[in-house]
């Protein structure tokens, strides 16, 4: 009987000597939203869809609250596109997603306080103007102008990011800063600027580290 107990003890020891128990840091941590103004536990991931929506909303409200832009006697003509919006971050992104959202939201919210120039569609406009003037089509109903609209202001900006990794815990952190500046196209001054910060951290399951 003692022998049987001994064998059972060996078996139990073998089972105990089995796989190391999963430590807390082995487990995955879901991506969490952090307060961008405070330092996160380690770091994070990049710009997501909800950021684009929130960012555009914040910028639109801020631009409409800026007297140098929104309270001009004659509504200023503005270009908002990705031409001068650079991406220096380590995230692949289609910048048009940000600038298109901003232009559409601002156009709808401004209710005529801004006039938007579709410079990214200048070719399309030029073709139609040529067709009207050559008689290929009629002149339409709103009349002809001497030239396409010039712009008073144009949006410029930059996306920059900074990454960190903690190899012990597998945490990866990314800080992304998106800056926006409205440039006076005659004087070269910046009449409005703002920035949007994102700080996120996540850790993949240990099986992937």
């Amino acid at each position: 009987m003692h022998i049987a107990r001994g064998l059972a003890a060996i078996s139990v020891l073998a089972l105990i000597a089995g796989p190391a128990s999963t430590r807390k840091s082995d487990r995955a941590t879901t991506t969490m939203n952090l307060d961008p103004s405070s330092q996160g536990p380690v770091g994070g991931t990049g710009i997501g869809g909800s950021d684009v929506v929130a960012m555009a909303d914040q910028m639109v409200r801020d631009m409409l609250a800026t007297p140098q832009l929104a309270n001009l006697r004659t509504p200023p003509q503005i270009i908002i596109d990705a031409e001068y919006f650079s991406n220096e971050s380590s995230q692949r992104i289609n910048k048009d997603i940000i600038t298109d959202r901003l232009r559409v939201s601002l156009n709808r919210a401004s209710q005529g306080r801004f006039i938007f120039v579709a410079r990214n569609r200048a070719d399309m406009v030029a073709a139609e103007r040529d067709a009207k003037r050559s008689g290929a089509v009629d002149v339409g109903t709103t009349g002809l102008t001497r030239a396409q609209a010039g712009a008073d202001f144009r949006l410029s900006g930059n996306i920059a990011s900074m990454e960190q990794r903690n190899n012990r815990t597998g945490m990866v952190q990314r800080f992304t800063q998106i800056t926006f500046e409205m440039v006076d196209l005659e004087r070269g001054t910046i009449v409005w600027s703002n920035s949007y910060d994102i700080a996120r951290a996540s850790a993949d399951d240990i099986i992937y580290r």
Partner: protein, 499 residues
């Protein structure tokens, strides 16, 4: 009585609705029933799919040379989706199907970037009685870096230098996981390519930083000249081999591939510098003068920027190794305990037979039974390291930059071994001048000359997924996404590919 009659009528109606197609069925009803029967039959034969007609319909939409790879992608599901997509991507670049390559890499990178928290398959891969390869493949850091590298190359080809730079920077970031700090951020070619993207953007400050970082990883990498406008990239050799090591196959080790000796490459470029006109002021006033075009030829000698094999082997210990070591320990310990129990039990049984001692006999039987149980548990534990590998990667990457005074030129590549020319099967040369800079890319070994299925895939793991509800659901969504969001069909081979 009336109630009984109503019940009988209702029963008759219910029966008629489940009866087989009869002459009374409308054509629509008959077709619905036939389809339901067909699906029942398919489900009986193939479970939750994919079904042969689905596979055929999906694959038929893909370019002919890539169909076998797309078939594997569709049928093997999420477990090896990243690996299959990566293999498709390089083959697509080589064959000139750039849309397919972009689609495949975007899909692969989305999965690599996804955080697998509380994922059933990841949990399973950690479990004692399941193999590591139960996890959805994301690859080792060098493989992840290479996925970003190829996406960066495609962005360079398209003249999108910002996203190219982002891709190379993220590729380099994958290398920060190395256990030994000496090998962290030493994937020099990624910094170099990032610098090149900045150079093409005209951001020389950022470019200089990246070239300096590249030089820290590889001091022989020179920064491009200020007027450099063309990047030459040559990939030489074969992918690192993943091999299972350790007594219980719990270690991931790497082997150097054999049969690819090339250690150098030369590019020869020829083209025509376009003619132009200019205004010249002379005695007779300002006149328009035509400057005739002239032939151009140049030679470029890329140098070794990074060895993919070195990147694979200098990572150091993987965090998951702790789990695999635990599994291996369990296997060994239970196996030893089983041997001891069986031997002791057998001895006791023999003694019991000789002495006629029933107590000893019972103990012996118990010992042998315990030994058998332990042996079963030892066999059931799965410590195997995951050796699924991206097999159409190169062994090393060579780069050169220079000024080519025309964007329309022809390129020829010659591969070398100890400075002597090698006779290798010619591979396509990808060449593009979409933006301010041109890029030329080629490789010494074909990306399509590989086995149909990726190495290291465990068919048993794939078969077992058919019985895992979560995996079945995931694969169904995966196939539906492929069908709905797949790259637009491009069945005709692209003509613009330089060969």
């Amino acid at each position: 009585m009336r109630k009984l009659a109503l019940q009988a009528a209702a029963a008759a109606l219910a029966l008629s609705s489940i009866a087989p197609a009869t002459l009374a069925d409308t054509p629509n009803q008959a077709a619905t029933k036939a389809e339901a029967k067909r699906l029942r039959e398919l489900r009986r034969q193939y479970g939750e799919g994919p079904y042969p007609d689905e596979i055929e319909a999906y694959v038929a939409q893909r370019p002919e040379p890539l169909r076998p790879a797309y078939k594997l992608l569709f049928t093997q599901g999420e477990n090896v989706a990243v690996l299959n997509l990566e293999r498709i991507a390089i083959a697509s670049i080589q064959l000139g199907y750039y849309k397919d390559a972009e689609f495949a890499l975007d899909q692969a990178l989305a999965r690599i970037e996804a955080v697998y928290a509380k994922d059933a398959q990841a949990e399973k891969a950690r479990a004692l009685f399941h193999k590591e390869s139960n996890k959805d493949y994301k690859g080792e850091p060098y493989e992840r870096a290479m996925a970003y590298y190829y996406r960066g190359l495609l962005y360079l080809r398209a003249g999108d230098y910002e996203n190219a730079r982002a891709s190379f920077e993220t590729a380099e970031f994958q290398d920060t996981v190395a256990e030994d700090e000496t090998y962290q951020s030493d994937f020099a070619v990624m910094n170099y390519m990032s610098g090149w993207a900045s150079h093409c953007l005209g951001q020389e400050g950022k470019a200089k930083e990246a070239f300096e970082a590249a030089a820290k990883g590889n001091a022989k990498l020179p920064a491009p000249a200020a007027d450099a406008n063309t990047l030459f990239v040559a990939e030489l050799g074969l992918a690192p081999l993943k091999v299972k090591g350790g007594a219980q196959k719990e270690l991931l080790t790497f082997g150097a591939p054999q049969g690819a000796d090339e250690d150098g490459v030369n590019f020869a470029v020829s083209g025509e510098i376009a003619g132009s006109t200019k205004m010249v002021r002379g005695k007779k006033g300002t006149q328009k003068v035509t400057v005739p075009g002239k032939p151009y030829s140049g030679a470029f000698h890329p140098i070794l920027a990074s060895s993919v094999y070195e990147q694979a082997t200098t990572r150091g210990g993987r965090p998951v190794q702790g789990i695999l070591n635990g599994k291996a320990q369990f296997k060994s310990a239970t196996d030893t305990a089983s041997n001891v129990s069986t031997a002791v039990g057998s001895g006791l049984l023999q003694a019991a037979i000789q002495n006629g001692n029933s107590g000893l006999g019972n103990a012996g039987l118990a010992g042998m039974g315990l030994g058998l149980a332990m042996k079963f548990m030892s066999k059931a534990a799965k410590a195997d390291a995951d050796v699924r590998a991206w097999d159409n990667l190169p062994g090393s990457i060579y780069v050169a930059t220079g000024h080519v005074p025309t964007s329309t030129f022809r390129t020829n590549a010659v591969f070398l071994y100890k400075d002597s020319q090698l006779t290798l099967a010619p591979q396509p040369i990808v060449q593009a001048s979409a933006g301010k800079c041109s890029v030329v890319w080629t490789r010494s070994r074909s990306a399509t000359g590989i086995d149909a299925a990726a190495p290291g895939i465990d068919p048993g793991v794939l078969r077992a997924r058919a019985f895992a509800q979560a995996a079945v659901a995931k694969d169904k969504v995966f196939r539906a996404t492929l069908i709905n969001d797949g790259v637009p069909a491009a069945i005709v081979a692209p003509a613009a590919l330089a060969r």
